[in-house]
Symmetry: C2
Subunit: 512 residues, 2 copies
């Protein structure tokens, strides 16, 4: 979920200076259109880590836009008046009217996150509040509002650097308190809680946008552009918008994303090293699935990747460490007639392993947001809602003790060409290369974008994506095996009840 | 919520025999159309109290329809295979394919309700499960399914009668076990839990229908007609249906509903009796709001009713028992310009009382499902979603300790005419009668239907409707005052944490 916001995005001064005037003019334009049309209130939630630039961003928005039609609403400790009324009262009071933009510094998310963090709220109470929030936001959207939710993210080191920088500057030193430094200590726990909340409230009608907060120029420009695009899109569809048009994607303003950052052409791992490592992790895996604690769990491995990235070979290295009675490999091709008559997740539910078993999917339910999206096999609204449905699906699984491990195997375009040509030459590999593979190759960029979106929207605490640099097959195989072992080990060691590792829920005897 | 299903509905043998052949023919027709079209799976959940006729209803549906395209899925204690997999797995396996009807005897609702009842599940865990269920059903509907949820209801006495009748008949005696009789003891608790679950899962995309279960003929005929209408409507709109067309209303097959059952022309209360009662309850009210425990609560009274039903006079009798500093009366007329620029609930949120205070709304947020529905001031989709938004709103309030007390004052059509004419005669009352009142009167039947729907869909455990027979003004005033006192007293005595009476939630200090 936070992967794309940990790449160290930066925008240089020159680029920034060139981009801002046009953005400002455009933002003013949409502001007037909004006012003129008078139908849509815009609700902007600005939230994120300490020092991630929430205040600065709000200031910039004020600077760029017409302050007459924008209002900022800051929420900290509730006043007496507020304390005596229901939790949501203060936020209702603050809603911007139609035609205006309300920027919320602190929102209905703040106190649940903090209460959860300091132990004042149970996970179940939190989930109930999350449900309440989702219904509230759905109501706002049904009433015509555009709801934009920003989360400014920092890595742990990034946060440390930001706090130090703020402290050093006499103009900003006052903003850093002991409380902020204390909060840094709970960074990991906060990330756990935030990851859960953001995932559960990342609805089609009010999706989150996570933006890296360290670089001021990158953060401001990205926020401004998303705001602009979202308002423009909404103005173009003035009817009520429960069914989403595309939620705002993070515009790629510096050309960097989770795939572009991969080091695909690293020095190959030596044959000897490969064999040692392979044996080590295969041995480890074999040991872990025989661990008595594994009897309450199962493993579900999901493999996706570029064509010819080596999924099959990698899967063979996993299963060769397992007893044939304990695993199942499910190759996913076009759905059967029986499967087409069911919701698209049905054909995956059928293969969910029982406890103590391993199931490996060679291609997965992510087809909906990859091939079906790129090829137009399903409507935009359908693949858009798939992100949260898939998250729900994987959440159900991990909640019941299933360890969900997802791999994207990535090769470079050159490497793919090389492998395609090889396959055409070697007779017993010819079946592996079809016209379709060549056609897919032409859509390289569309797939690239779909993969980045997929990782952003479905890499969660319970079910993160592991992106594997697969130009070197041996490296990829070792990385995959090691990741499986590490995830399995962590799950077996975990205590139930944490955000990331829910307790397995056992159905009890029941009657009806 | 259960009001309409406690009227003792009955259908006589002759009416039944005449209605069934056509219904069967129609049901077969839609079944074939469904099969032919091959796009929509129909998921029918049959649930309800013990002895309320779940099994009988399923048998009748089988008898009436073509069993080749219908399947029944009975869920009791999970099998070993099921126990080893996530909770939802068994239900996924059982989903009917497109073009077919799957009747679920027992469903994803059964075990949460039972676990909650026997204490194995906390309220918060239950709410989290409810959220999961709502998302699951939304996904089904988005995937094209028609989801129909029936709850067969019995009053406590009705359940006793049914169990005895079943026990007496040698053919059915085997079905009544000690377990059923034990369950009768927890009737009230079950009603509490069920009321909460049904309200929270009564979504626009998969609404509940509550049907009185005591009379076999009434239950079967009503279920069959709703099933028929819902499938017909869905077939007519084959595109995916997240936004609802009207959810199936309970067809009024015996002409009886919560308003028709009122005894409006009861013997008037004597003047002396009225004055004694009035003084008694006013005194009681005055005492209750000065009770120290009231400092954690507030009261919100909502008044709706026929025109000239006497809302104003009743409200004056309430406030005369209160200190002017402690209450506020909010008359609700057309929204101001400022209010129109906000979601429709905003103008009511502004007036939410702080703790220790009483707010009385003379006409309310129910305008959306009454006048706005009847006059067509808002789109059907908007007033349809309002039911659950209003329930959420009132739930938020009660969750924070607000005691929500709602009155519908009903007079007969004749009594209204009498009062209208009186008003026209008496000069100082002329302002009270306008052209609009006469126009509304012409829409008497449309309002009647809207009121019945409103009570069915928004009378909840925390915020029930009290329907007041108001032909006798004095009777009405006493009933209202007594109800307020009783609700207030119950709330002050209640322990937090139960379904009906959630703990007041205090916002804690927070930062962002």
């Amino acid at each position: 979920m936070f992967e794309s916001a940990e790449l160290g995005h930066k925008i240089d001064k020159e680029t920034y200076k060139q981009a801002v005037p046009q953005l400002r003019a455009d933002l003013l334009d949409v502001q007037y259109d909004l006012k003129e049309q008078g139908k849509i209130p815009v609700i902007v939630l600005v939230s994120g880590q300490d020092g991630a630039g929430k205040g600065e961003t709000i200031n910039i928005l004020y600077e760029w836009m017409d302050p007459r039609f924008i209002s900022t609403l800051a929420f900290s400790a509730p006043t007496d008046e507020e304390r005596l009324r229901p939790f949501m009262w203060r936020y209702w009071r603050a809603l911007p009217p139609k035609g205006r933009i309300g920027v919320f510094a602190g929102s209905w998310y703040s106190s649940p996150i903090h209460d959860r963090l300091d132990g004042g709220m149970t996970k179940a109470a939190m989930d109930a509040r999350i449900d309440q929030i989702n219904r509230f936001e759905a109501m706002l959207v049904n009433e015509g509002a555009l709801v934009l939710k920003f989360w400014f993210h920092l890595t742990k080191d990034g946060q440390k650097r930001r706090l130090k920088a703020l402290e050093k500057d006499p103009k900003t030193a006052w903003r850093v308190t002991k409380w902020n430094w204390d909060r840094l200590k709970t960074y990991d726990k906060l990330q756990d809680v935030v990851g859960h909340v953001l995932r559960m409230t990342n609805t089609p009608w009010a999706p989150w946008t996570i933006i890296e907060g360290e670089d001021d120029r990158y953060r401001s420009l990205t926020t401004g552009k998303i705001l602009l695009e979202a308002i423009r899109q909404r103005l173009a569809h003035p009817e009520k918008q429960f069914t989403p048009v595309a939620p705002p994607s993070r515009p790629n303003i510096d050309g960097r994303d989770v795939l572009s950052e991969l080091k695909l052409n690293r020095k190959p791992i030596t044959k000897a090293d490969y064999e040692t490592q392979l044996a080590k992790w295969q041995g480890k895996l074999s040991e872990l699935v025989r661990d008595p604690r594994f009897k309450n769990h199962s493993v579900l491995c999901a493999f996706e990747g570029s064509d010819a990235a080596g999924k099959g070979g990698t899967i063979r290295r996993i299963v060769s460490a397992l007893d044939a009675r304990d695993y199942q490999v499910v190759p996913v091709a076009a759905p059967t007639e029986e499967e087409r008559a069911q919701p698209y997740l049905w054909r995956f539910w059928r293969h969910i392993p029982r406890t103590g078993r391993v199931t490996i999917f060679d291609r997965t339910w992510y087809g909906r947001v990859l091939v079906e999206r790129v090829e137009g096999y399903c409507a935009e609204a359908d693949w858009l809602r798939a992100y949260s449905e898939i998250n729900d699906f994987e959440h159900d699984l991990s909640d019941s003790g299933v360890i969900v491990i997802k791999f994207w195997l990535q090769i470079s375009k050159d490497e793919q060409l090389k492998r395609f040509k090889e396959r055409e030459k070697i007779e017993f590999k010819q079946f592996k290369i079809t016209e379709e593979d060549w056609r897919n190759r032409e859509k390289w960029d569309a797939y690239h974008e779909a993969v980045c979106d997929m990782v952003d929207r479905t890499s969660t605490g319970n079910a993160p994506w592991t992106i594997v640099e697969a130009n070197d097959k041996n490296f990829a195989r070792v990385k995959v095996l090691r990741t499986i072992c590490e995830r399995l080990e962590a799950a077996l060691d975990a205590k139930p009840g944490a955000e990331g590792v829910a307790a397995a829920e056992k159905p009890k005897k029941k009657k009806d």
